[in-house]
């Protein structure tokens, strides 16, 4: 099998915070996260809002805040992605597509920002091509971020990735609050990037939308990946592996819109063992121990009873 472009193994990210007074506490926001993306493939990390998914992106890009620490292993094209290496690669081979316009400098014109200030003929030509492909008028280059419309800003943000020669694209929540048409169009652009040979990792809360475009899904729950499955596995409940993924499946409108009670446990009172235990119907005493991440039917799952 080919070497994955990005392979994240046992990623841990925790924050040091001051609790009452001067007592420091460690908040393990991401624990034992595993995911891999291959060339030409789109993988979506799906999880509910506010569960720390964006940290995954920041961790890979090497821009975690100073009070965060990261453990585990990130391998990029067969070699470990060290701090030095990501500092060299980010912005050209490895790019991030941010979630909103607030990630653009409000004081600079859009074209200038996409080009990162480069003025050579080649970059200009590239920008022209991207604008044509994305159906953006030439004048948009001279607009400031606040002058862009909702549909335009998606394409402008993706253009910041397209202008480079990315081998790995990480998109952080690329379709927040967009109407379905615009959101689908944005997802199509990621497909194009993958078809050009890039590996694409999309971090999103929108399972339905992801299922339409991506190749594989990694389900993110309480700071960890509990299942990795091909998109095909989501056609029937039976082909899914983890009880939470099955619950997600049942919660989709076309599958009955059923929801399960409870919510994800907060980092500070995370149960030992399986994080889904309090909401799971199948759990037993054994679920309180270590849960291995095992391979089943071409996917991976973190559940003792998955078949």
């Amino acid at each position: 099998m080919k070497v994955p472009v990005l392979k994240i193994e046992h990623m841990n990210i925790s924050f040091t915070q001051y609790d009452r007074g001067m007592r420091q506490v460690e908040l393990p926001t991401i624990r034992d996260l595993n995911v891999e993306v291959h060339e030409g493939e789109i993988v979506a990390v799906v999880g509910s809002s506010g569960s720390g998914k964006s940290l995954l992106a920041h961790g890979v890009m090497g821009v975690l805040p100073y009070n965060a620490s990261m453990g585990g292993k990130i391998v990029y094209r067969g070699e470990e992605l060290t701090a030095d290496r990501i500092a060299r690669l980010r912005g050209n081979e490895i790019v991030l597509v941010p979630q909103s316009l607030s990630y653009l400098n409000p004081f600079a014109k859009v074209g200038y920002q996409i080009r990162k200030g480069r003025k050579d003929a080649q970059t200009r030509q590239r920008l022209d091509d991207i604008f044509k492909r994305y159906d953006l008028k030439k004048e948009v280059e001279d607009l400031y971020p606040f002058e862009l419309s909702g549909g335009m800003n998606r394409r402008v943000l993706i253009a910041t990735a397209m202008i480079e020669n990315p081998r790995l694209v990480i998109a952080d929540e690329p379709t927040p609050g967009l109407d379905l048409k615009v959101a689908k169009r944005a997802m199509r652009h990621f497909r194009e990037l993958a078809d050009m040979g890039a590996a694409v990792l999309i971090i999103t809360h929108d399972l339905e939308l992801a299922l339409e475009t991506v190749d594989r899904i990694a389900v993110f729950y309480a700071g960890t990946t509990i299942e990795e499955a091909g998109v095909g596995d989501f056609e029937k409940e039976e082909t899914l592996r983890h009880p939470y993924t099955k619950a997600l499946w049942r919660a989709m409108p076309k599958n009955g819109f059923q929801f399960i009670p409870g919510s994800q446990p907060y980092v500070k009172n995370m149960p030992e063992g399986c994080p889904f235990m309090p909401r799971c119907g199948q759990c037993t005493e054994a679920c309180r121990g270590q849960i291995p991440y095992k391979e089943i039917r071409g996917g991976r799952v973190r559940c003792l009873y998955a078949e």
Partner: protein, 331 residues
Amino acid sequence: MNRRWPVFLLKNLVRMTLLVICISIVTFGLMKASPVDPLQANVGQAALGSMSQEQREKLEEYWGVNTSPVEQYLSWAGDFIRGDMGTSLLYRQPVTRVIAVKLSNSLFLMVMAWILSGILGFALGALAGMNQGRLVDKCIKGYCLVISSTPAFWLALLLLMVFAVWLGWFPIGLSVPIGVEASGVTLADRIYHAVLPALTLSITGISNIALHTREKMIEVMGSDYILFARMRGEKGLRLLRRYALRGVLLPAVTLHFASISEIFGGSVLVEQVFSYPGLGQAAVAAGLGSDMPLLMAITIVSALFVFGGNLAANILYGVIDPRIRRGGTAE
């Protein structure tokens, strides 16, 4: 923008006129309410006692003691509108000429202080903001807090003691050397005499702008767009120049133009300490000596400067921030 210029100018002209009217009335009122008796203050109790009734009446007429305030104000205002600011009672010269001389002295001082404090304040603030929590930041912040709670005149006295009295590096006061004809005074002499007062003014001016710049720098460096720029491989000076600078410069520029008023206010005290014959000192003399025409004129000139500073800040805001420049025309 072009379409809006006349409206903008007209609006500000009206504002400025209203400001001048209000300020002149308030100044006049305060002067009238002040307990300073012009005769006693300028002629002296002893001299006054030895004068004949006739002489006293003449003096009272000169200082306008018996004219009704409203009449006095209206006659002053009438002349002012015609461009005649009157004659200074103390200097016995046209007010315009007194102000021209004093202002050129003060402007020299204030411009020096303003530029110095702006550049230094911004640089220190930016440096502190980029190194938040480190030693540099703590030192700069500590310095700013100490300075901003130090009165300007006290600092002036301190500098005077250290650099003029003990070390003897700079003159003790005045704006030109003593005993030299006006034609013999060189620019170097003027700068030499202005250094200490200008330094005092800029030292106090620095802390304000540095603290604000620091705060803004921290905010900008923690913003999403700086994070994204870093994720796109930008770093170091390039990141600072291309991405952070505008966001930080904006409040600094506005603040600095608005701080013209503070430099004006500070100069009154500092000029007094250094016996520097500038506008501030003239204002004090005019106030204590009941020199109504001069004080009114100085107040109005100062108000116009402060107004101009704020106006410049407003205009520059538009130049620097595209959201204001373009947002305004897009309506």
